[in-house]
């Protein structure tokens, strides 16, 4: 943890990047002697700012987005709760895609390089970002990871966010779309419980449909719930394990690449 402010950013680790405190600075110059000897009755005044708190993140995200556009990279931000099967979905997707398309992956987790190791086992380059105590990836982390990863032109970049259905909704990374992954072992009311994430996503993947016979999960209710918070959301039902529905997902990816 950063000893200056108690934040967790000091624990952010990106493979291949030295662990300096880069994504925000602790400017302490105002503590200097000259500032502490002001007038005893300084007048108060108002300064208009009118700036978004996330302006800095949004600025870096815009820079990332520009880079993706120039290099014709399709960047997708995969979001879900922990355990929905994002990494398994990715490894199966990459096994099918990698022989004929360039792919790269940025993996976000609080700790361990397990997920990046799983991706690299498919032969696809991956960089693990450990957010320490942080609950989401931000645009700066993705920017730094991209410099290590150097994805090729015309490639597909998957950014697997930290498993969390709350915070990643607020942080633009510069991706083309957010893709929400929801597994049928979770509740069908998740889109209502975590509306911001499903409202921010272009596509909802209903994963693990091979388990439907064993769980009380109503697919139609789930889709209706998702459309309640986002009438435009597209839905693909699949099982990464059995491969059912994978063709539809790959077709969606192809369609996005051409868009």
């Amino acid at each position: 943890m950063c000893s200056t402010c108690g934040c967790a950013s000091g624990e952010t680790r990106i493979e291949g990047v030295s662990n300096e405190h880069s994504h925000h600075s602790h400017d302490t110059s105002y503590h200097s002697h000259e500032y502490s000897h002001g007038l005893p009755f300084a007048p108060r005044r108002l300064i208009d700012i009118e700036m978004d708190v996330l302006a800095k993140n949004n600025h870096i995200a815009a820079h990332n987005r520009e880079h993706f556009a120039q290099a014709s990279i399709l960047a997708l931000n995969l979001v879900s709760s922990p355990g929905s099967g994002k990494t398994t979905l990715l490894t199966h997707t990459l096994t099918r895609l990698a022989p004929h398309s360039d792919c790269a992956v940025v993996e976000g987790d609080q700790q361990t390089t397990n997920d990046a190791d799983r991706i690299r086992a498919t032969g696809v380059p991956a960089i693990q970002v450990n957010t320490g105590k942080g609950c989401h990836l931000d645009a700066q982390m993705v920017h730094d990871a991209l410099h290590q990863l150097a994805p090729k032109n015309n490639s597909l970049l998957f950014i697997e966010n930290v498993g969390n259905l709350v915070c990643p909704a607020s942080f633009d990374l510069g991706e083309r779309h957010k893709v929400a992954v929801l597994s049928v072992t979770e509740g069908e009311d998740k889109p209502l419980k975590y509306p911001h994430m499903f409202a921010a996503s272009r596509l909802m993947i209903l994963n693990k449909i091979d388990l439907l016979p064993y769980v009380t999960f109503d697919v139609d209710t789930c889709i209706a719930n998702a459309r309640q918070v986002n009438p435009e959301i597209e839905v693909i039902q699949l099982s990464a394990t059995t491969g059912e529905g994978m063709d539809q997902w790959l077709a969606w990816l192809e369609q996005q690449r051409c868009a």
Partner: protein
């Protein structure tokens, strides 16, 4: 949980403007939390005080403005207020044909310095 990050970003911005204006202290700040911003005002308030410690803004007064979820219903052809930002449903006609006007961001409106 991300409110702490937002607070740090907010304090950073406030400091920047405070220093530019040769402030010795930031005494108050006005922040607008958009209805669709997924920021919990109470959590923000809690973290804000912590984020301000040992900065120009230490002990500053926080004015949080939380405007309603303003939207427009195409069916009723009028301004409406959603009951919950999570459900895009017109409270008048029950229709889904709704355009969200409310902000999803979080903005620092102004600061008071001395």
């Amino acid at each position: 949980m991300h409110e702490i990050t937002l607070c740090q970003n907010a304090v950073e911005l406030m400091q920047e403007f405070g220093q530019q204006n040769r402030a010795q202290r930031i005494t108050a700040v006005w922040v607008e939390v958009g209805a669709f911003s997924c920021v919990e005002p109470e959590a923000f308030r809690f973290c804000f005080e912590l984020a301000c410690r040992e900065t120009l803004a230490e002990g500053c007064e926080l004015h949080l403005e939380t405007p309603a979820a303003e939207s427009w219903c195409y069916d009723c052809q009028q301004d409406i207020r959603l009951l919950s930002p999570g459900v895009l449903l017109c409270p008048q006609c029950g229709g889904r044909h709704v355009r969200v006007i409310a902000d999803d961001g979080m903005k620092i409106k102004r600061i008071e310095i001395e």
